[in-house]
Subunit: 317 residues, 2 copies
């Protein structure tokens, strides 16, 4: 499926992928969709089985200089600081409050979890959704000055719509917070909350003055990254996906799981190669969204690799 | 919504609910659907928000003399016994192997968990699905002699289809095993695996000779019962349901959670009142599917209560 023998038969007037240059990646996508949707084809996939998965950070929107959700966490910590005078002298919070986010992140996984819990727990699910909704409507990216929802990739929005037009059900499968993404996934990506899979903390049902609420607890429930992705996919979807789109080593098990199903399968890596219009990064260990083993495996197995610089006419929506 | 002022305007020729007698329950359902689907109505619910939840055991299919999945567990334990000679003298397995299922169940939660793990873990997800598929195709109910999939309620199948015809997305939310139900939910109920929420054990991603598999581990992941139901609903769906259908106290938090959302909501309890055609049970503490607090709350709040004996023309499909 990844080496189409003929160019895509798409007329410019009806082009569903106008931001994709005519190259190998675009042709592979169009060829796959044409093959599996053709009635009577031996590779035809019934509509109920057309499950397509998308990573979020670095695949549907940007992830530099750090995951956007971490910036939400920093803002939330600053907002909560008056209620936590002890944070002034306690790491990693002290670093955040001094504006030294790099030092805050240097504390490793323990510091990350502490910041995630402090910023993501302690509210009801409804209150948390409101916090994210307010933040995403106003917060701006540190270098581009754009809203974060303006840093989604136009070619990927077209791809999501193109797949749905062809009967695919599109899911997000991300290491990002499930309740964080759900606030904007339907509006921005056309992906409803019930098709978002992500990392989560535990919640607890309570009746408060007779009113049922779900309270967000400071305990990890599930980490939807790396080998957790196939686990999350099975938990939420319960059948094999037929297409998967990622950009990092954390997506590799998801792509392996997708590729291993019987019948035609499509796996694609977005490769960040455009330092002028976006960012260029891949194998460097320290980077967010490291793509190293995944790049090798994609090349070995003939998966499609998007070269952002050359394959995408437009980057941001 | 629960006290309609006029009978349902449905012509017999087009009747989508032929197994429902013309009574309060049927009228309440039809009135609710008519109201929330009417364009321009102040109580109109957009299609994306039309989320309807169904318990499984005792709501979509029977649950007596014990949950059908427990009978699967017993059969699986008997199947595995040759590989576990120690079970001959170890409870609760010894009781199962002697055919004394009542004693096996008398061991309480600890015995239940032991039997569940022995019968549900230790395979890959694909292998487990095959085991359930084979069992559900051949095993027969101890008193009726029917296949278990023949013990689904015809009126509820009609209700599922009627709601879907009116733009509702139907989900199963059950204390039963998520991977157990997914094997037959699409074929029997028209509910795809990605719309099944249930109890689960942990799984682990592994590459076996390069082939990715998910291995089912003998550890509880999530119990989707009682106060766990709203937690599971939020985890899988991420927005408030507008309709919920159950039959037991274990469904009460799901109905409370549904009722508490703003706007029109529909909550319904199936009350097992027909000892001749099915079973009659409710408040007795020892019964599977006990309905006690839920029945009181339904009456207090005016939720719809189905009297199986009088409301249902047909019971089994």
């Amino acid at each position: 499926m990844n080496q189409p023998s003929q160019p895509a038969n798409v007329t410019p007037a009806a082009d569903p992928l106008p931001s994709w240059n005519d190259g190998k990646a675009r042709r592979a996508i169009v060829e796959f969709v044409a093959t599996v949707t053709k009635p009577g084809s031996p590779e035809h996939i019934p509509v109920t089985e057309r499950i397509a998965l998308f990573d979020n950070d670095g695949t549907l929107w940007a992830e530099q200089p750090i995951f956007f959700q971490a910036l939400f966490a920093f803002d939330r910590i600053r907002q909560l600081a008056p209620q936590h005078p002890e944070w002034k002298t306690r790491e990693p919070f002290a670093s955040v409050l001094r504006g030294d986010e790099k030092s805050a992140l240097a504390g490793g996984m323990h510091a990350l979890v502490e910041m995630a819990m402090a910023s993501h727990a302690g509210t009801t699910t409804d209150e948390f959704a409101t916090l994210v909704r307010d933040w995403i409507a106003t917060a701006r990216h540190p270098t581009t000055g754009r809203l974060y929802t303006e840093m989604v990739y136009q070619p990927m929005l077209e791809l999501l719509a193109y797949l749905r037009m062809n009967g695919f059900k599109t899911f997000i499968v991300s290491a990002g917070g499930i309740e964080f993404m759900r606030v904007f996934s339907e509006r921005v990506y056309g992906v409803p909350p019930e098709q978002v899979i992500g990392t989560s903390i535990r919640t607890k049902f309570e009746l408060r003055d007779g009113e049922p609420v779900l309270v967000r607890l400071p305990e990890i429930n599930f980490i939807d990254d790396g080998e957790g992705k196939p686990v999350g996919i099975q938990m939420h979807i319960g059948r094999r996906p037929v297409a998967a789109f990622g950009n990092a080593d954390g997506d590799l098990p998801m792509l392996q799981w997708t590729a291993a199903g019987g019948g035609p399968r499509f796996c694609l890596y977005v490769h960040h190669t455009d330092a002028d219009r976006e960012w260029a990064y891949d194998r460097k260990a320290s980077s967010f969204g490291r793509l190293d083993k995944g790049l090798d495996e994609a090349r070995t197995r003939g998966w499609t690799i998007v070269d952002m610089k050359n394959d995408w006419r437009t980057i941001f929506a």
